[in-house]
């Protein structure tokens, strides 16, 4: 039988430590909507989204009320649009029309983001992929809740450097297209290596072609809960530290599992995976950086940060894997700078640099995330940063991502405001050493050797 202290612990997590289920994301395959006629394609997409996800928001709210656990976001991911629109789109403008359709349909069902305005070009770029990528700046500036991602590399295929170079330019153009709003378009655009098919988190969510017609993926959260649990083991050895993180991750994941099961049953949509990521928000007490500080660092970004993050990431997985049999997505600690109060503080004081963040991405999911850089950063430098991050993912067989925001008109020392969960961020300095000669080469970086690991 449940006892008083267990009930109190759970409710304290929810009420005081920001425990929530970060997102229920419904993946919807749009492959059966494909049509050679653009107008008909858009109609079919709208109809399928409305039919599939019409009850998503209400069901999420019902579950939230019954269990007393906040479910912050209800979202949709769709089949990469470069595939869906390939037969109907003759120009970038045609793809933008699909983006508008997605935006309208997503608002109609009341979700707060829709992901999948995507292209998978890890080995080569089709004509449709190119049109979609070129349409991204306009699509993200003319829509509100559509998110875009481009997978430019993988461990199996290597890195498509033509796509990397293109994305350097596309990121800057997207920033320019939304310059009046601190280049917020770039907050909805991710460049991936080894992108997972079942990620429920934005902006990188899309519904992979290997997935079922519809599927529910759940993203949990809870940095505040981990931080609070670690407060009770200050000064203890690493074994105690790891045990505490594991137990807490177990509890957090169980809540996600419960919500997943309920939502799946009520919506009649199969459950896919739980993503075990610790996702921070800009709210006080919901920071991954604060967990690292609780472990004993003065500020995130200092020496010891990579080790502390590696430990955290691994223990979260170990605890979470025990709590759910179907774990997927990105699963790890997120370190988005603008969405994490502790990271923002570390960046402001100079303790956290772009280079240190790059090192941190070697041991956690996902990558260089929500980092504001000077608007004057050259395209080739952005491409160089992307290439570095993709190389880390390719060699280490992990997902890495880049979500950089070159804030047009702002320089180091200023701040960008994105609002809501996207937060705010100081503009971080970027190396001025040029890499044009490297990124302007044509072709691909070959897939790495899978032996001789050193």
């Amino acid at each position: 039988m449940i006892n008083f202290s267990e009930v109190r612990e759970t409710n304290a997590m929810i009420q005081r430590e920001n425990l929530d289920v970060r997102t229920i994301t419904m993946g919807i395959s749009l492959l059966d909507c494909i049509d050679g006629d653009l107008t008909r394609l858009c109609e079919r997409i709208r109809e399928k989204i409305l039919r599939s996800a019409g009850d998503l928001v209400r069901t999420g709210e019902d579950i939230s009320r019954e269990y007393g656990i906040p479910i912050v976001n209800k979202r949709i991911s769709v089949t990469p649009i470069a595939l869906v629109g390939a037969g109907a789109c003759r120009s970038s403008e045609d793809f933008v029309q699909i983006a508008r359709t997605l935006d309208r349909a997503a608002r109609e069902v009341g979700v707060n983001f829709l992901g999948g305005y995507s292209a998978l070009v890890s080995k080569g770029i089709t004509g449709a992929d190119r049109l979609l990528i070129e349409s991204i700046p306009q699509a993200l500036s003319e829509t509100e809740i559509v998110c875009s991602s481009v997978n430019v590399g993988s461990t199996k295929t290597g890195i498509d450097m033509d796509a990397v170079r293109m994305m350097g330019t596309i990121i800057r153009r997207t920033a320019e297209a939304t310059a009046d709003r601190d280049s917020i378009g770039c907050a909805k655009l991710v460049v991936f290596c080894n992108a997972p098919d079942d990620n429920p988190f934005m902006a990188g969510a899309f519904h992979g072609v290997t997935e079922a017609d519809r599927v529910l993926n759940i993203g949990v959260s809870g940095p505040g809960v981990v931080k609070k649990a670690l407060e009770s083991v200050r000064g203890e050895d690493f074994e105690v530290l790891c045990e505490t993180v594991k137990k807490t991750a177990f509890k957090i994941t169980r809540v996600g599992q419960l919500v997943a099961r309920e939502a799946s049953e009520r919506l009649g949509v199969p459950f896919g995976i739980i993503d075990l990521s610790l996702a921070p928000t800009p709210a006080v007490g919901d920071s991954v950086a604060d967990i690292l500080c609780e472990m004993g660092l003065e500020t995130a970004g200092g020496p010891g940060t990579t080790a502390a993050l590696a430990l955290l990431n691994d223990q979260v997985k170990k605890g979470g894997l025990m709590a759910s049999s179907y774990v997927g997505g990105l699963s790890g600690a997120f370190i988005p700078v603008s969405e994490d109060r502790g990271m923002i503080h570390a960046a402001r004081t100079g303790a956290l640099t772009l280079e240190k963040l790059e090192a941190m991405t070697c041991v956690c999911s996902v990558g260089l995330d929500m980092i504001a850089i000077p608007g004057s950063t050259p395209d080739t430098t952005i491409a160089g940063i992307i290439a570095d991050e993709m190389a880390i993912g390719m060699i280490n067989q992990k997902t890495t991502a880049v979500r950089l925001i070159p804030v047009i008109g702002k320089e180091v020392g200023e701040e960008a405001q994105f609002g809501g969960l996207l937060g705010y961020a100081p503009i971080m300095p970027v190396s001025t050493v040029r890499c044009d000669g490297f990124v302007n080469r044509r072709g691909r970086i070959p897939a790495p050797v899978h032996s001789f690991k050193n």
Partner: protein, 91 residues
């Protein structure tokens, strides 16, 4: 049996248990277990209840309890389905 956990927290006053229990009886909710303490004048109660015979949607009942707590008694009342606690604290 469908079970739920009701927690009541707030400044102690006369009639908290009476107020909550009267509502539960009206809604055909059977009380299975109650534990209650008072710490520094603060009332803390947990109830395990059977909601099998509840006639209205669970969310509506939880909202009514919340309203009774805030408007009539001056305490915070939460009602949650039991599974969340069970799953979190049992392997």
């Amino acid at each position: 049996m469908r079970r739920a956990i009701i927690t009541v927290v707030g400044r102690d006053t006369i009639g908290i248990i009476a107020g909550v229990c009267t509502y539960l009886a009206e809604r055909h909710i059977n009380i299975l277990d109650i534990s209650q303490t008072i710490v520094d004048g603060y009332f803390n109660m947990m109830m395990i209840v059977d909601i099998t015979q509840l006639q209205i949607p669970f969310g509506e009942m939880a909202e009514e309890l919340d309203r009774i707590g805030q408007e009539k008694i001056g305490v915070q009342i939460r009602c949650q389905r039991e599974e969340i606690f069970d799953l979190m604290h049992r392997v």
